[in-house]
Amino acid sequence: MSDVSIPEGLKYTKDHEWAKIEGNEIVVGITKFAVEQLGDITLVTIDAKEGTEVTAGGAFGSIESVKSVSDLFAPVDGKITKVNAEVVAKGELLNEDPYAAWLVRIAVKDPKSLGELLDAAAYTTHTQS
């Protein structure tokens, strides 16, 4: 496994999603570590529509790579406010820069739930375990 730098300032889940906090919303994507594990990503499917309620750990879509398919999980309870249509149309964008190719924005139901997410150091430890 090559070294994959994990940006500071983002929150992470053990399922390899990242979340960037912007006011009452989070921007959600998957980490570089996840992209490396998946191999070449070809297709992103977001089942949830704008306005859909999601629960923490619940699947809101899936990612297909050449090798396999994986579910995408919501980091926290909330409501989808925006889906990144560009990444849905061109899943390969995730291979290049998964921190730029965000997937959805979620209006967070309870701001306190963000405290349960991992910080960069904890996520780094998680990926090395």
């Binding site: 399922d15 390899h16 070809t42 297709l43 090798k67 396999s68």
Partner: protein, 386 residues
């Protein structure tokens, strides 16, 4: 998300520690991501599945297939014994010639798919799948009994596949008698010296590209691998893992044991009628296969394209347009060269005509698919088969 630790379609590793081929250190050195496969630790990828796939299509790729089994039968009756075990006609083989075949049980379903090499007048080498090695050793050993000598050479024989349009250029650089090797016809083989190592070079492979498979002594394989990587890299050679091996063979519609064929499928429904020679004399499974042939096939293995947004995978149900479950996907993946999501699966005979539309149940979503002609990809020239 939940990235997998191992390839989704690989046979499960045994509880014991995985075995390593002699080339293991080279894989690790080249950044190979090692995964358990059929009891072995094998590279799933190095630079990336798509990158490796395209290297094989456009230049060439190097595969460690030392985990496969090599079974040898010797003696005046060896040919007859092997011919009794397999469905294709080994009796047609000249020395230096090989053939692809199935080995069936008495019910006519497939124990393994194999290549039989006639290495001498009374000497036959058979290459079997790693996942079936123990089973095939048992089948061969008990068939040999008092009739011929049997030897499991798997632990002493390494196998490296060099595949792609530049395979023979690389062999020439390795100081082998490239002229003679490039004259080898498809499914022929000969002894050669490659990078100062005594080898047997066969014009066989499993990628849909021209190329060779090189047998050598187990402990000499790392040196051979290093030489070929060093000489071939300037020509675009890349080491290739199991991931791209799977996408390459799928585009060429080469069956994968454990996915497309197994002990529940017979060679006729699997599209392997061409390796079943009912006229050759008696063999294991013949009676059952004669019965299968006498009736219209109930189901067939077909190639398809997923035309909707989705990727078919091994084990996904196939449905008719009314939504009834009618079949199963046996292999599926994005096809890096064909640029489409492709697959193989069993469908009832009435849904197997080219152009037939059906649905793939992609984890609860029914996605449209169409039966298409195979292979999905065909090289311009060269040896295409296992």
């Amino acid at each position: 998300m939940n990235p997998p630790a191992s390839p989704p379609d690989s046979p499960k590793a045994s509880a014991t520690e995985e075995r390593r081929t002699s080339i293991h250190e080279e894989h690790v050195k080249h950044g190979g991501r090692m995964v358990p496969f059929a009891g072995w630790s094998m590279p799933i990828q190095y630079s990336g599945i798509v990158d490796e796939h395209q290297a094989v299509r456009n230049a060439c790729g190097l595969f460690d297939v030392s985990h496969m089994g090599e079974l040898e039968m010797r003696g005046p009756h060896a040919g007859q014994v092997v011919n009794y075990l397999v469905t294709n006609d080994v009796g047609q083989l000249a020395v230096g010639q090989a053939l692809y075949t199935a080995c069936c049980n008495a019910s006519g379903t497939i124990l393994d798919d194999l290549i039989v090499y006639r290495a001498g007048d009374d000497r036959y080498l058979t290459v079997c799948n790693a996942s079936n090695r123990d089973k095939m050793v048992e089948v061969f050993r008990s068939a040999a009994e008092d009739h011929c000598e049997f030897e499991d050479r798997s632990d002493s024989t390494a196998l490296i596949a060099l595949q792609g349009p530049k395979a023979f250029e690389v062999l020439a650089l390795a100081g082998s008698d490239a002229a003679k090797l490039s004259e080898l016809k498809s499914f022929h083989f000969r002894d050669a010296v490659v990078a100062n190592i005594a080898c047997t070079v066969a014009r066989t492979g499993y990628t849909g590209e021209d190329g060779v498979e090189i047998f050598c002594a187990w402990n000499e394989a790392p040196a051979l691998w290093r030489h070929l990587v060093e000489l071939g890299t300037p020509l675009g050679l890349k080491p290739v893992g199991l991931g791209a091996r799977d996408t390459l063979r799928l585009e060429a519609r080469l069956s994968l044991y454990g996915n497309d064929i197994d002990e529940t499928t017979n060679p006729l429904e699997a599209g392997l009628a061409w390796v079943v020679k009912l006229g050759k004399g008696d063999f294991v499974g013949r009676e059952a296969l004669e019965k299968v042939k006498a009736e219209p096939l109930a189901r067939k293995l077909v190639g398809f394209e997923v035309t909707g947004r989705g990727v078919a995978r091994h084990g996904y149900p196939l449905r008719d347009l009314q939504g009834n479950e009618v079949g199963i996907c046996t292999s599926g993946s994005p096809g890096p060269t064909v640029g489409k999501n492709i697959g193989l699966g069993y469908l009832p005979a009435n849904l197997t005509a080219i152009g037939t539309q059906f649905l793939v149940d992609c984890r609860g979503r029914n996605i449209e698919a169409t039966v298409v002609k195979t292979p999905f990809y065909k090289a311009n020239k060269g040896a295409v088969s296992k």
